[in-house]
Amino acid sequence: MTDSGGKNGAARFAERLGERVYAMVLDLGAIFTLFVQVLSWIVRPPSEFRNIVKQMEEVGVRSLPVVLVTAAFTGMVLALQSYSGFQRFGATSFVGSVVALSITRELGPVFAGLMVSGRVGASMAAELGTMKVTEQIDALVTLATNPVKYLVVPRVVAATIVLPILVVFADLLGILGGYFVSVYLLGANPYVYIAKTYQYLEFKDIYTGLIKASVFGMLIALISCHHGFVAQGGAEGVGRATTRAVVASSMIVLISDYFMTSFMF
């Protein structure tokens, strides 16, 4: 009889859970260390300017279509839902305000963050993971190049800058989507709708959304690069790293969103 065979189900479950939590704590530690390394390498020469621009293109241009489509439909469905809800107490004129506030404060940044987690997080983890398992990262080191500086710094900087820009477009498209559904499908008065959109929307709603987006971008890049760096065991290992990167960065978007919201408002 083995040792673990003698334990009951609950004890084994607790043990598994303990291992999971322990692994998560180690991961968090490693990601924090990576963050500190990124900070220390950002300022040191040579500058990675060209690499940063290349990554901004990678993150921005490639994610723009999916972020825009997501935002437009989010605005459209928000208008539909709030219209049918508000009809019950005759407040349909507030649809514009609800759409604008929800999009700029919450849904624009969060959905953009989730889309970028899937799109960019996966590709970063896959690219760095492949470089790791084919020894390209070791090769960098032997060619007088620090991998954190050369690979991670440009990705983190680019994602931190580009996500808010994406969210500006997402906000616009979301609000436009809501407008089209309200005015052309539900027959709202366009002047009233626009007036209500402006009336309650404050500058703070927009910039807090953009700050959130920036933080999401940084976290997604850090987490995805970390999972790429620790990939092990060939193509299969790269696949595992990619999945982990996407799951972890999507979760961190939602978790950090809660805490940032509770701080900011």
Binding site: P46, M131, T134, Q136, D138, A139, T142, A144, N146
Partner: protein, 258 residues
């Protein structure tokens, strides 16, 4: 000169190097032989500071690299060039950018001369007019040669070759052997070559060392190794299926089948 003393490296419970000693003379080619998974790659990765061993010392021209921090290591690593087992070319860049990588990072040549310098390095490994090709378009032998051109581009004093001929056809393997010999003769580099290809080892080595169970169990000239009296080394270099190396696992197999 590289002097390795009492080097120990483990991964978890897997003890890979166990108090290994090896002296690599200047301007000579030292070949390390040993079975798959015995830790040959781990040994040279420790030597360039890619892996940190738990114990021992690695003296490069008298300086112990294990006592250095990451910043000091960067300076020492500039003395090294390394050819990786799978070539490890950057697959997002073309051949020219791969070979020029260290030259650009270290700003060793003005940008307008880079193509010329790269062409010269590529010609040293017998390649011409391939700067615009991507690594995915190259054959295995060409990849190794481009990897070699990249490793020698910044003119290192020490070259580490990880299985330079594995997976190549015999003719291409011999081309690589000749390259290694000519690099030693023309630039006078100190080198460590890892291989389990005995034909290659005899041809390129000034000194052969055998790694077995985490230690260097014998060092000698190619002739001394060929005529060794150590049964473990003899089994390996003669490529016999029966002998002390395999007996242990046979006992294990018998034990399992009982």
């Amino acid at each position: 000169m590289i002097a390795i003393r009492g080097l120990s490296k483990r991964f978890g419970k897997n003890v890979v190097l166990d108090g290994l000693d090896l002296t690599v003379p200047k301007g000579k080619n030292t070949v390390v032989i040993g079975g798959s998974g015995t830790g040959k790659s781990v040994l040279i990765k420790c030597a360039v500071g890619l892996l940190r061993p738990e114990a021992g010392e690695i003296l490069i021209d008298g300086q112990d690299i294990l006592r250095m921090d990451e910043r000091e290591l960067v300076g020492v690593r500039r003395k090294f060039g390394m050819l990786f087992q799978g070539a490890a070319l950057f697959d997002s860049m073309d051949v020219g950018d791969n070979v020029a990588f260290a030259l650009r990072r270290l700003k060793m040549h003005p940008e307008r001369h880079i193509r010329e310098v790269v062409e010269e390095k590529l010609s040293m490994v017998g390649l011409r007019d391939i700067q615009r090709l991507m690594p995915a378009e190259l054959s295995g032998g060409m990849k190794k040669r481009v990897g070699l051109a990249r490793a020698i581009a910044s003119e290192p004093d020490i070259l580490l070759y990880d299985e330079p001929t594995t997976g190549l056809d015999p003719i291409m393997a011999d081309v690589i052997n000749d390259l290694i010999i000519s690099l030693r003769e023309s630039i006078g580099v100190t080198s460590i070559t890892i291989t389990h290809d005995m034909a290659s080892a005899y041809k390129i080595a000034d000194q052969i060392a055998m790694l077995y169970k985490g230690k260097i169990i014998e060092v000698g000239t190619p002739e001394q190794i060929r005529t060794t009296s150590n049964p473990v080394v003899a089994q390996f270099v003669q490529g016999r299926a029966h002998g002390p190396i395999t007996d242990e696992s046979e006992e294990f197999v018998r034990f399992v089948h009982r």
